[in-house]
């Protein structure tokens, strides 16, 4: 846009700020012709008659307004629960059927998560319990994790020299436990990390699970 065109536009808009400059430029013949042409076009536009308005215009607008402006929670309720007409065609119906049919297949074949991710997400930790009991035929483990049942978890002597052990998956927490030798003797783990009184004059061994995903050695 040239300077003269900008001045012309301001002049036609009735802006008085740059009238002096405009008067100088419009004195040039070419500018004068452009100005006259635009002025006449603007004049014709201003003379255009307005389209007739229907007499019922306002009434029709009011008839289209909702009865009551609903509060926002009502509007939300409407969005969620208002019945809506569903428009469909054969193509969209076939596409939807294919999606529904493929969903179980995709679910089954979806690759499982990597083991390390599982390990990190799992809160279970494998804890190995070891107990030396030379000459013992059977060693069991009882504690908070199995309701202190003396015949639920048995340690095995894999060496044949009385080194009993068992690995137990435990969730993080603090557990009290004892070994049960030959189903009769309750023995406190001599190498436990901590102890507490059992209320009957003995001490229970304690194990605390903090970390995840690793097979710790325990006593």
């Amino acid at each position: 846009m040239t300077r003269f065109e900008a001045l012309l536009e301001s002049h036609l808009a009735g802006a008085p700020d740059e009238e002096r400059e405009f008067a100088g430029q419009v004195a040039v013949d070419e500018n004068r012709r452009v100005f006259e042409a635009h002025r006449r076009t603007a004049g014709m536009l201003a003379e255009m008659s307005r389209p007739p308005l229907p007499p019922t215009f306002t009434e029709e607008v009011l008839a289209r307004l909702p009865e009551h402006r609903a509060p926002s929670w009502e509007a939300l309720w409407d969005v969620l629960w208002a019945p809506r007409a569903l428009r469909w065609n054969l193509g969209s119906a076939v596409a939807l059927s294919l999606v529904l049919a493929a969903t179980p297949l995709v679910w089954k074949t979806w690759p499982s998560r990597p083991p390390e991710v599982l390990g990190r997400r799992s809160v279970v930790t494998n804890i190995r319990f070891n107990f030396d009991a030379a000459g013992a035929r059977q060693v069991a483990l009882a504690g908070d994790f199995n309701e202190w049942q003396p015949d639920g978890i048995f340690l095995t002597d894999t060496t044949g020299r009385g080194h009993f052990s068992v690995s137990l998956p435990l969730k993080p927490g603090r557990y009290a436990y004892m070994f049960v030798v030959d189903g009769a003797s309750w023995v406190t783990d001599p190498r436990a990390e901590a102890y507490r009184d059992d209320g009957f004059g003995n001490r229970n061994a304690l194990v605390t699970i903090e970390d995840v995903g690793r097979d710790h050695g325990k006593t």
């Binding site: 065109e5 301001s10 808009a13 009735g14 042409a37 014709m44 255009m48 215009f57 307004l65």
Partner: protein, 226 residues
């Protein structure tokens, strides 16, 4: 320059009377608009409180402006009526979003223009949708303002030609020309409405009018005016 001074005085007087005439006597000038702006706040508050009938005042005040704008943008009388009504309904439903930073009329015009652009976009996708062109119509027996039937026919023919030429302008130039010259909007108000700088408003208005002038020239319309 005496002629220019006379022209400017006449132009200002014509603009003022045109504006009043265009709005059917509803808006009589800038002072009235400012006063309207004050009472419009109260009207909008009543509407928001659920008083639908208060909205009648706003519809009556701006129906000429909005209907004219939509009609000139779309070029179709029936569709213009429907879209103009739709703009009022949408404005009512969105009243809470009106923050009063601009005039209510500016905000309303923006809603109407957006609706027009939706329609024009749809037309591009549906090219078979007809765009009706106004013809000059039958020769009137007598014009309302006492002008002769021949003069009235001449005016109607001219309006029809202008209407057709406007419909051929690109939308951004058409809206600028319509707002500036048919609705008599100020440059600053157009800037607020179209959300472009005043300089860009001037460019669009000038170029739109220039295109219109060339189109009318091709129609061999009113040789002395081109």
């Amino acid at each position: 320059m005496v002629g220019d001074v006379r022209y400017r005085r006449n132009a200002e007087a014509t603009r003022a009377s045109k504006k009043q005439e265009r709005h059917g006597g509803d808006v009589s000038g800038a002072e009235r608009l400012d006063a309207d702006r004050t009472d419009e706040g109260a009207i909008i508050a009543r509407c928001l409180a659920g008083d639908r009938t208060s909205y009648t005042v706003l519809v009556e005040r701006y129906k000429g402006l909005i209907h004219g704008l939509v009609y000139r943008m779309l070029g179709d009388a029936e569709e213009a009526e429907d879209i103009a009504q739709d703009a009022f309904v949408r404005a009512y439903l969105s009243l809470r979003e009106f923050r009063g930073e601009a005039r209510f009329s500016t905000w309303l015009c923006r809603i109407a223009l957006n609706r027009c652009k939706d329609v024009l976009r749809r037309r591009r996708r549906e090219p078979w949708l007809p765009l009706t062109h106004e013809g000059p119509g039958p020769i009137p027996e007598a014009a309302d303002d006492g002008e002769s039937p021949i003069a009235s026919l001449g005016r109607r023919e001219r309006d029809a030609l202008l209407h057709r030429a406007l419909a051929r302008l690109p939308v951004k130039y058409r809206e600028a020309v319509v707002l500036r010259h048919l609705e008599g909007m100020e440059l600053t108000e157009m800037s607020a409405l179209l959300r472009i700088p005043v300089g860009a408003v001037k460019v669009r208005t000038f170029r739109g009018r220039e295109m219109l002038r060339r189109l009318l020239g091709r129609e061999e319309f009113c040789d002395d005016a081109i």
